[in-house]
């Protein structure tokens, strides 16, 4: 039986060559206008430049690549088929139900707690880890809107911006501290979430997507142009850094500082490490908050709304409140992340809040597996570290980033941790496979 299947999938070498030749032909068509030809600015006028060797190399790479890829895929498929037939009975290995993921989660927590202790002197590692955690927090926030409530939001960065600018303005113009501004900024972002949510209550799917995208752009354009409040394109500079319960991270002076209070020698890495633990705590709180919310009636209503809005309404769930609360809570979490971002950078400008940022946060949620908290962590690691690792070939890093997004999606269309654990099970044995 398995031999039969294998024979069925065997493709003759001529066919393989033909297939690769077709790919090479497409590569030729794609390559001519972009790789083969280019225009160079010469004294104000454009001049044609040719790069035929590069085009030839590109076509050859496509030809060989296709041959190898096809061969590899066919081998894999044949092997997978054979294996599936052999072991059809032992299917349904349930990854999420296994305790493995829980252990991975605790392990990740341990690693993140120990990281700054191990790498105290390596500022770069701690900084990168802080960036990862900002994205984790944003991902968890957006997960409420997209993953749990199923509302596609393409303008999440707007709330991040609202949080960041609220702190920026309050701190630089009214002298508020980080801890005073944090709840205010969260409330501010939440009310913006409601402002966005209100007119879009009746919209579904992609209509909602474009409205949220437009909302993100509106906020950005306002930030660019409302110079008196936001500083315009120049942004807000010298935003105060957070202090440790009133103890600033400064070289020793007259006032007690963090270092002098604890009798430590002053080191600039104190602040870096403190910021790291601060965002870690914020992110963990977010996680705890969201996973608790999921167990409350409102959280269940979110997930029910995602699955079937009409059924929900028929059951007497108030769709308006459920949607608005998802928007508000998601926005609030984004706002908190924004405050932290402003405090950490000390400088914010509309540049940091473009659509690309929204796209990356959404990609984190979807790549991680919608609704999966650990998936968000994995995806943020991938999406933040990928461009960092690509620093050596800086020109190509965004190219690789785009390619990776496509490839991960094709490889795992449901996200890295695709399996969703149902909040409630009808019967203990009913597996939920989505």
């Amino acid at each position: 039986m398995s031999a039969l299947v294998l024979a069925h999938h065997r493709i003759s070498p001529t066919e393989r060559l033909k297939d690769a030749a077709a790919v090479a032909f497409i590569a030729l068509l794609l390559g001519i206008p972009m790789i083969g030809l280019t225009t160079i600015d010469q004294g104000g006028a454009l001049r044609i430049a040719t790069r035929w060797p590069a085009l030839l190399a590109f076509i050859a790479a496509c030809f060989v690549g296709r041959l190898l890829l096809r061969y590899g895929f066919d081998q894999l498929r044949a092997r997978k088929l054979a294996r599936e037939q052999a072991a059809a009975a032992v299917r349904d290995r349930n990854l999420a139900a296994s305790p493995l993921l829980t252990w991975v989660g605790w392990g990740a927590l341990g690693v993140s707690l120990a990281l700054p202790i191990v790498f105290t002197d390596n500022r770069y590692v701690v900084d990168t880890a802080t960036t990862v955690l900002i994205y984790v927090m944003l991902g968890w926030g957006l997960n409420v809107v997209v993953g749990l409530a199923g509302l596609l939001d393409l303008g999440y960065v707007a709330f991040y911006a609202v949080g960041a600018y609220t702190y920026g303005v309050l701190a630089t113009q009214l002298g508020w501290t980080f801890w005073q501004a944090l709840p205010v900024a969260g409330a501010m972002a939440a009310s913006f979430g409601i402002i966005l949510g209100w007119p879009t209550l009746r919209l579904r799917g992609d209509y909602l997507a474009i409205v949220t995208l437009g909302f993100g752009e509106i906020i950005r354009v306002i930030l660019v142009n409302w110079t008196e409040l936001s500083g315009g394109p120049n942004g807000i500079t010298s935003i105060p850094r957070p202090s440790f319960f009133g103890l600033p991270f400064k070289p020793p002076g007259d006032d007690p500082t963090f270092a002098s209070f604890f009798g430590l020698e002053y080191s600039p890495s104190h602040r870096i490490v403190f910021l790291y633990y601060l965002i870690l705590a914020l992110a963990l709180l977010t996680n705890l908050f969201v996973s608790r919310m999921r167990k409350l009636p409102i959280g269940r209503a979110w997930e029910a709304m995602r699955e079937d809005e009409i059924a929900c309404k028929a059951m007497g769930i108030n769709a308006r409140n459920v949607k608005l609360s998802a928007f508000a809570i998601g926005a609030m979490l984004g706002g908190f992340a924004g405050v932290f971002f402003a405090a950490r950078q000390g400088f914010i400008s509309p540049e940091s809040f473009t659509f690309n940022e929204s796209a990356i946060i959404l990609a984190i949620v979807v790549l991680g597996g919608m609704g999966s908290q650990l998936g968000v962590v994995l995806a943020s690691l991938v999406l933040v570290l990928l461009p960092e690792l690509g620093r050596d070939f800086a020109e190509y890093r965004m190219l690789l980033f785009g390619t990776a997004m496509i490839l991960i999606m094709i490889w795992k269309p449901g996200g890295i941790l695709a399996h969703r654990e149902p909040t409630l099970r009808y019967l203990a044995t009913t597996g939920d496979k989505r």
Partner: protein, 304 residues
């Protein structure tokens, strides 16, 4: 009054371009129900091809304007549709039948890829070309303000009208059009009736890309400068146009495009140029509040 007329002309020109791009969004959305985020970048690729071909023609000494325009259009449409086909084949087809968000993310990835590919291969700087179509007709002069109808604007509007007519014929009268509409309604049933659904979808992408290619060439002729970032803004505007008109509806896409073009032109002239994007999106939100499926879109009836 004169200013209003001028803005009407400018707005219609801009709107025609948005409309051409919006049709690509609307068709793709209609047939596979996804937002093709890379569509704006396809348009940008076409603009770059147009720049290259214009320069090439100038090198060969072809100076006849109609001939060079025709050649550029032909070449740009040809190569850009190959791009459209490839994008669908590599990034979207493997994801058919998966969740709704998967192709969206893949499309965003493709958009990032295309932008950076063009930036790497063609350079990050703005490329200005020698003006192709100069001059225009002075319509009237009021208080020293001359209303001018540029030849390039006439070209854009005429080409758009011709394309819309051809396209309407293609969709409503031909066998391909029937297949395309049938795929929009029910892909499984269409496949059961012996129609190659994959081929129809591929052709839809190529057609959408071809229209975006025409828009790209037109914009290159109109503005005379391109850079690798133009696809993003045009893409968002065109998508807004498609949604405003009612996504899935071809006349809706054109109507939406024209409306957005006009709103932008008038807002920029009379209120504030900085906030024209805010105006566009606010009007979109307002329209959707009262007509959740766009101006010409049919409301989705959901059976329980």
């Amino acid at each position: 009054m004169a200013l209003a007329l001028q803005q009407l002309i400018n707005g219609l020109t801009l709107g025609a371009v948005y409309g051409l791009i919006a049709i690509g969004y609307t068709m793709v959305y209609g047939i596979i129900g996804m937002i093709n985020f890379a569509h704006g970048d396809i348009y940008m690729v076409s603009a770059f091809i147009a720049v290259t071909v214009f320069t090439l023609l100038a090198t060969f000494g072809i100076s006849s304007i109609p001939l060079s325009l025709l050649l550029v259009l032909l070449v740009a449409v040809l190569f850009t549709s190959v791009y459209g086909w490839t994008v669908e084949r590599t990034a979207y087809r493997p994801l058919r039948g998966s969740t709704r968000l998967a192709p969206l993310i893949s499309a965003i990835g493709m958009s990032i890829f295309l932008q950076n590919m063009v930036q790497l291969t063609q350079g990050a700087r703005v490329k200005p070309i020698a003006p192709v179509l100069v001059g225009g007709i002075d319509l009237l002069t009021v208080d020293g303000f001359t209303v001018r109808l540029a030849y390039s604007q006439i070209l854009i509007v005429l080409v758009t009208i011709a394309l819309m007519a051809g396209f309407t014929w293609l969709i409503t009268r031909t066998s391909f059009g029937r297949q395309q509409r049938s795929c929009e309604q029910d892909r499984t049933m269409t496949a059961l009736l012996g129609i190659n659904v994959d081929r129809t979808i591929s052709l839809t992408f190529m057609l959408g890309a071809a229209l975006a290619a025409v828009a790209g060439v037109m914009v290159t002729v109109y503005y005379g400068v391109v850079d690798f970032f133009i696809g993003f803004v045009a893409g968002i505007k065109a998508f807004t146009a498609a949604v405003l008109g009612g996504i899935g509806s071809l006349p809706g896409a054109m109507l939406g495009g024209l409306l957005i073009g006009l709103i932008e032109a008038f807002w920029a002239a009379y209120l504030s140029a900085e906030y024209k994007d805010v105006a566009t999106f606010s009007i979109l939100i307002l329209v959707l509040m009262f007509r959740p499926s766009g101006l010409l879109g049919r409301p989705e009836v959901e059976k329980v």
